[in-house]
Structures are given as structure tokens and as C-alpha cells.
């Protein structure tokens, strides 16, 4: 029976190539837009190189200090000392790494200038993240204790600084702001969309200009807490919050008196949204309102379009329906047939969308638009798009089918 329905659907598709084109255009492009968007979101918040352990990591990014009347506030990353005292000392996590957020600098080779981003990290950074070392190795506790002037660089920076060479650059010298560092490792870089790990050059925090000696609570450092397994996340958050609650309030920093101090350890997604939604509940409603509206437009408009076309086209097939009804087909069977037909066409559209998405993703990855972009069609994205396909099939199938099923036999046969 199903095969029969699909055969009919196929014949109907071929009968009017123009309408088939309109329908498929709507379905496949809508799905492509949705899939590219989801794959981009997955790129932003999923666990990918080099943060492959993101699902069992907590991120500490900002400290918020507010005065008692809440009229002024100060917000930003923390000092190395603060994080050592309150985050590094946690017992529950497997490992804790402290590193700076992105700092920018310049390097000069001959008459060429290289804009670069630097990061000061501790030795644990290389254990918490999963960087792929193309050459050499990371710096360890020993290098840090000795205050060695060593650096780990990315392959991209290597190509710019040393020219496109296949030779090893381990032990060679890079000069940044008049200081010479010895290259100790070369890693495959992290995309700019992952600010906790993205940089061109990584230094141990004991090299000059890292400001790790700064006292006070605020500075340039953030932390990643790696749990032994996912179930520990809650315990780690609680332990960290306990540490924070022990800080005496109100406090005073550089003349700014604060009575509220907030530091959160959040999974990446919350941390990511948290910075976007800092403006309180009002902004949050607007944000989700806008997202909802865009999604509605993105999916609703093509859906209305499909319903529209289906409603008009179904009258074309009135005689076929009339005959089937006259021979005793129940309404249910007819509705079912049309739903199957619509799901069939949405799946064809879905297949086209998959191919289109694949092409677009390849284009984005290869364009250098985001360095080291690694957008992928993964299983999650695919399942979501299949679900969307089904919703589309039902949306554009049920309404016309219902309308058609109410058709009078005599009227249907006459048309």
C-alpha cells in the first residue's frame, strides 16, 4: 500500500514540474538554512577540537561586583591570585587550568607585520584541552618553575613567521615585543570562535607581561574546571560556590566599594548565553522573542506557502478523489495517502537540503572566513532536520487533506 502511495506521489510530481520545483525549492532551502544555522550553533557550543572535554568542563569567565545601591557595577575576568586561591584549590575536579583570555600583540618579520593573539596559561592547560601537537611538546611545571622563555605556537603562525617550511622549528627563536622566546611545540590551531583556547602563541604564565603577580580580585585570567565525569559537575559548582561565599563582604577594590560579588562556574552553554543575556530578564525576553520570531518566519512562511499550493493543487485531483470515494475508500485512507505523499516530497527536499548544506559548510570551512572552522553535519543536526522535515510534511499535508476529505462525491466527480 505504502509503495503504491509513493508511486502515485512520484507520478504527481512529474506531471507538473513547475509546481514540484516550487515545493522542493521551499522545502530544501528552508531546511538548508536551518541546518547551516544548527551546524553553526553546534560549532559554537558543542564539544569540538581542542575543547573535546567541554561536556564535563565548567567555565569561570567573569566576576561581577556591584555596590549596595546596584547603581554601578564592574565586571570582567579575574586575577591569577584570585583564581589560584578559590578555583585551583578545589578538591573535586580532576584538573583546573588558569589562562588569560585573548591578548593581542604584533610580531614583525622583515617588512611584514603579523597580528597575533597571545595567551598565558599554566601547564594543566595542555591536559584540560586536547591540542594536537604537530611538533614538539607542551611546556610543563618545570618550565614554569624555571620561568623559561618558551612558547607553543600554532601551525598558522609558524607558516607566517618562518615561511612555508616543512622543517621542524623546535628550538628556534620567535621575537615578540622585543622579547625572545624559544619554540617548544607547534599545535594545530583552535578556531577564533572558541575564546577559551584560541590564540596564535601560548606562553607559560611566568614569562614577562603576563601580570600574574597582580594582587586584588580582578585581572585578565579565566579558568576551566575539568570534572572526572559529568555527574561531578554539580558537586564542583557547589564546592566553588562555597569558596566564593567565604569571601568577606562588603569589599573594596581600587576605591570601588562593592557589596555583591558574583562569580559563576557554568557549563559552556550557560556561560555563552550568560554573556549575551547580561541585561537581565527584560533583555532575555526580547532575545528569545526575536529568536522565536525569526524561527517562526523561517519555518512558518515556507510552510504557509506549501499549504497554499497544496490546497490549490488538490482541487486538480478532485476527479481522482471522487472516483476513489465513489468506490468506497474511507476518508481516513485518503487523508493518510496525502500525508504519505507530503512526507515523501519533504524527504526528497530533505535529501537535497543535505547535499546543499554539505556544499555550503565546505565553502565556509575552506573560505578562511573563520580560521580553523570545522563545521560538520553531525548526527544531532541530521536528526533535528529530519524532525523538521516531518513537521513540514504534516503541516503542509494535513490541512489540504482534511479539506479534500470533506469534498462531496458528486461535486468531486463533476469537476
Amino acid at each position: 500500500m505504502l509503495i503504491n502511495y509513493i508511486k502515485i506521489a512520484w507520478k504527481v510530481l512529474l506531471r507538473h514540474p513547475f509546481y514540484t520545483f516550487i515545493t522542493l525549492f521551499g522545502i530544501s532551502l528552508t531546511l538548508t538554512v536551518l541546518m547551516v544555522l544548527t551546524s553553526f550553533l553546534d560549532h559554537l557550543i558543542g564539544s569540538h577540537y581542542p575543547e573535546t572535554k567541554r561536556d564535563r568542563s565548567l567555565y569561570i569567565m567573569q566576576m561581577l561586583q556591584t555596590d549596595s545601591s546596584r547603581s554601578s557595577r564592574s565586571m570582567g575576568p579575574m586575577s591569577f591570585k584570585f583564581l589560584t586561591d578559590y578555583a585551583k584549590s578545589l578538591k573535586t575536579p580532576e584538573r583546573v587550568t588558569l589562562c588569560t583570555f585573548i591578548n593581542s600583540s604584533n610580531a614583525y618579520v622583515g617588512s611584514q607585520k603579523i597580528k597575533l593573539n597571545t595567551k598565558f596559561t599554566d601547564a594543566d592547560f595542555w591536559q584540560v584541552t586536547d591540542f594536537e601537537f604537530l611538533e614538539g611538546k607542551p611546556y610543563n611545571e618545570q618550565n614554569i618553575a624555571n620561568s623559561d622563555y618558551v612558547a607553543v605556537i600554532t601551525d598558522d603562525f609558524k607558516n607566517h613567521y618562518f615561511g612555508n617550511t616543512t622543517e621542524s622549528v623546535i628550538g628556534k627563536d620567535v621575537e615578540i615585543e622585543n622579547i625572545h622566546y624559544k619554540v617548544i611545540g607547534v599545535v594545530k590551531g583552535s578556531p577564533v570562535t572558541r575564546p577559551f583556547t584560541y590564540a596564535d602563541v601560548y606562553f607559560p604564565y611566568t614569562t614577562p607581561k603576563s601580570n600574574y603577580q597582580r594582587s586584588g580580585f580582578r585581572g585578565g585570567y579565566v579558568a576551566i574546571l575539568l570534572a572526572k565525569n559529568k555527574s561531578d559537575l554539580k558537586a564542583i559548582q557547589d564546592e566553588f560556590q562555597n569558596h566564593i561565599n567565604r569571601i568577606p563582604l562588603p569589599g573594596n577594590q581600587d576605591g570601588f566599594k562593592y557589596s555583591v560579588l558574583e562569580v559563576k562556574s557554568d557549563p559552556y552553554l550557560e556561560n555563552f548565553i550568560g554573556t549575551l543575556l547580561d541585561g537581565g530578564p527584560g533583555l532575555r525576553t526580547i532575545f528569545f522573542g526575536v529568536i522565536g520570531f525569526i524561527m517562526f518566519m523561517l519555518m512558518g512562511l515556507p510552510a504557509i506557502n506549501l499549504v497554499n499550493i497544496n490546497v490549490s493543487r488538490i482541487m486538480e485531483r478532485a476527479s481522482e478523489i471522487g472516483i476513489r470515494k465513489a468506490f468506497g475508500a474511507p476518508v481516513k485512507a485518503l487523508v493518510w495517502q496525502f500525508i504519505v505523499e507530503n512526507i515523501f516530497i519533504t524527504f526528497i527536499g530533505g535529501a537535497i537540503a543535505l547535499v546543499l548544506t554539505f556544499i555550503i559548510i565546505q565553502l565556509i570551512n575552506n573560505s578562511g572566513w573563520i580560521a580553523y572552522a570545522d563545521l560538520t553535519i553531525n548526527i544531532n543536526v541530521f536528526i533535528i532536520s529530519i524532525l523538521v522535515c516531518l513537521i513540514f510534511g504534516l503541516l503542509s499535508g494535513v490541512l489540504p487533506a482534511l479539506r479534500m476529505s470533506k469534498l462531496n462525491i458528486a461535486e468531486a466527480l463533476k469537476a
Binding site: 538554512v33 604584533n106 622585543n178 497554499n308 490546497v311
Partner: protein, 384 residues
């Protein structure tokens, strides 16, 4: 004729409901896009107010060094001025043009209050960025007399605080004395809205404001840049130095505006193509269904032109219904001053969207109605 068309559409409002919803939704999407574009184009036409080419921003960071910071910054500035390639050098707060930083504060004059962007600069600022003065003169270090700090305000700040009054010599915000005005100053690039800006004379003895701007001779390259970075870092041990070319920073600022607009534009045009194709298909079918009606009208002497005008008229009426609903929503934006934009932006956007929608529906109806007009009455009536 028009009343007749309205009646025709109204009688079949159920069958047309979906089409109207579609037109309403397209109108809303278009309205959003048009507002965004009108707003940005409007900003773009305002002059930038300064010259950014060949200007470099040098950010100094003292890191762990806390002794005599202000003197060291001044020394670096003096050092820069000695190079032959440097035409002019100035020191300012970290919110240099096209940077990601901004500073704003409320100022008051005669109970009129505005939020203005503050730039702390020294006497060479206008020369380095080539800012033309509207009235008065750029302040000099000697102007800092008594308890008042000299400030320069831009046109927008003048309008906000003084209206038609002459601002020269007036005291604003209790400690600033206006000594001159400039026209516009859009520090975040061409797409930034023209906002009130206030330039305040920098106190050379303060340890903050560690950003230096230099204008170099055209054609100066990275070799010279490397040289000044090397000189400054060897002069100020432990300090960090970063050089940004304003032309590059401007590109970043532009991308922040342009990338969302371009993504929105792509998604919108995809939606509109979708809607147009759908409309075209539906009209094609519905006109095919009304062959007998058309045949009858032709037989009774209607001209080809009359037939096609009727169909285009019908779709216009439909579009009008859809857009009237859309207008109810869109009109809220200028009325409630959403996002603090000028009402003109929304009104222009509404007009643009209305024109585009009429254009789209006309294009979609043109071919099917032409087809309908050429129906031979004999053939159509015979089928019946």
C-alpha cells in the same frame, strides 16, 4: 470598480486567508530588513568628521611597572614626535576611533540632560585626526585654568544641551567649559549613528590614558612600525606595546555592522523568492480554475486589458488587506519609539516595504493574468 474588487475578495476571504497571512508575514520581514538598511544608509550619509588614513593607534600597557607611569607615557610620546616619518602625535583615552572601547557619561546644562561619549585627548588631537572646527579653537594645555576643564562638543551635543543658544564659554556638568564645537564625530565608523560627543582636555600628569595616536607619512610600512615598537619596549622595560592601523580597525567595525545585515538580507531574499514562487503558483492555478468565468466575460465584450487589470487589481486588494494588518504592527514602532530610532527610519521602511510588496505581487500576477486575458471565449465556454 475598486469597491467591486474589494467585495469579490471579501466574499472569498476564507480561501484567501492564507495568501493574506503570507503577504502579512512577508511585509513584516521586509519591514525589519528595510528598517535595518534605512537606518544604516542614513548613518552612512553623515560625514565621519575626521581622517583615519595613515593614523596608527599605539596602546601601551605598563603591566607590573607602577612607578612614574605618567612620565614614561609622556616620554614615549616625545620620542614618537622626533621621528621624521611621524607627522603628528597625540595622547588620548583608550576609546580611540574604531576601537571596541567606549566611555559615556551624562552631562547637564540648564536641566537638559544628555548621554555623551567622552574622549579624553590632548592639544594635538584635532591636528592628528584632521578634525575641522565649526566654531572656536581646539583647546591647548594652557587653557586649563581654574577649576574648569576645557571641552569641545560636537553638533549633536550642542543641539541636545543648548538648542539655538551659543555654547561658547558656557559651563556644563559643573566642571567643563565649552571652548569650541565640531560638526560630527562618528568614532565607530560610518555606520555609527551621529551621537553627542565631548572632548575633554587630558591631564598630562594622570597615569591613565595610555593610548598614543600618530599620523605617519603616506607609504610608511611595517619596518618603521617594528622600529618604533622596538624603541618603545627597550625604553620602557616590561611594558607591552600594540599597534593598530585605524584603517584595519575600521574594517572590523564595518564587519560588525555589515555581516548581520548581509545574513539577514540572504535569509530575507530566500523567503521572498519562496513567497513569490508560491504566489505565482497559486495565482496560476486559481486563474486556470476561473476559465469559464473569464470566457463568459470575454463573450460579453470585456477587452484583454480589462481582464488582466481585473486580476492584477484583485491581487492588489489582497495585498492591501495583508498589509493593513501588517501596518497595525509596524505602526507601533514609530509610535512607541522602539529601539530609540527616529520615527522617519520606520516610516521610510514602511513605505519601502509597501512598494516592494506591490511590486512582487504585480510581477507574480502579470504572467497568469496575461494568460487569462488571451483565453478564447469560444474555447472556454465550450469546455463548460
Amino acid at each position: 470598480m475598486i469597491r467591486h474588487l474589494f467585495k469579490l475578495i471579501w466574499n472569498k476571504k476564507k480561501t484567501h486567508a492564507l495568501l493574506m497571512i503570507e503577504i502579512w508575514a512577508s511585509f513584516m520581514v521586509l519591514f525589519g530588513l528595510a528598517s535595518l538598511i534605512v537606518y544604516n544608509v542614513g548613518n552612512y550619509t553623515q560625514p565621519l568628521g575626521f581622517e583615519y588614513k595613515n593614523v596608527w593607534a599605539i596602546s601601551l600597557k605598563s603591566n607590573q611597572d607602577t612607578t612614574d607611569v605618567e612620565q614614561k607615557i609622556q616620554r614615549a610620546l616625545q620620542q614618537l614626535k622626533t621621528y621624521a616619518d611621524v607627522e603628528s602625535a597625540t595622547r588620548m583615552s583608550s576609546n580611540f576611533p574604531f576601537s571596541a572601547n567606549s566611555m559615556n557619561n551624562g552631562v547637564e546644562y540648564n536641566k537638559k540632560k544628555i548621554m555623551a561619549d567622552f574622549y579624553v585627548t590632548d592639544d594635538n588631537f584635532a591636528k592628528t585626526l584632521d578634525i575641522p572646527m565649526a566654531t572656536g579653537k581646539w583647546y591647548r594645555n594652557a587653557d586649563s585654568i581654574g577649576k574648569y576643564t576645557p571641552v569641545i562638543i560636537n553638533q549633536k551635543a550642542k543641539e541636545g544641551l543648548f538648542g539655538d543658544e551659543n555654547p561658547m564659554g558656557k559651563i556644563i556638568g559643573e566642571r567643563f567649559k565649552v571652548v569650541g564645537t565640531v560638526n560630527t564625530f562618528k568614532a565607530k565608523g560610518e555606520f555609527m549613528a551621529d551621537k553627542p560627543a565631548i572632548f575633554e582636555l587630558l591631564n598630562a600628569k594622570s597615569p591613565w590614558n595610555d593610548l598614543l595616536l600618530i599620523r605617519v607619512k603616506p607609504g610608511t610600512d611595517a619596518v618603521f612600525e617594528a622600529k618604533i615598537v622596538k624603541n618603545i619596549t627597550s625604553m620602557l622595560t616590561g611594558w607591552s606595546v600594540e599597534v593598530d592601523h585605524l584603517a584595519d580597525s575600521r574594517k572590523n567595525q564595518h564587519n560588525l555592522t555589515l555581516v548581520p545585515v548581509i545574513i539577514f538580507l540572504i535569509v530575507c531574499s530566500f523567503l521572498l523568492i519562496n513567497v513569490a514562487l508560491g504566489l505565482f503558483g497559486v495565482l496560476n492555478l486559481s486563474i486556470a480554475k476561473r476559465r469559464s468565468e473569464i470566457g463568459l466575460r470575454r463573450a460579453l465584450g470585456a477587452t484583454e486589458k480589462g481582464i488582466s487589470t481585473q486580476f492584477i487589481g484583485e491581487i492588489w486588494v489582497l495585498a492591501t488587506f495583508g498589509m493593513l494588518v501588517g501596518l497595525l504592527f509596524a505602526a507601533q514602532f514609530p509610535l512607541l519609539n522602539v529601539f530609540d530610532l527616529h520615527a522617519n527610519v520606520y516610516i521610510t521602511a514602511i513605505v519601502v516595504s509597501i512598494i516592494v510588496i506591490y511590486l512582487i505581487v504585480t510581477l507574480c500576477a502579470l504572467f497568469p493574468s496575461r494568460q487569462a486575458a488571451t483565453i478564447q471565449p469560444a474555447v472556454a465556454l465550450h469546455e463548460e
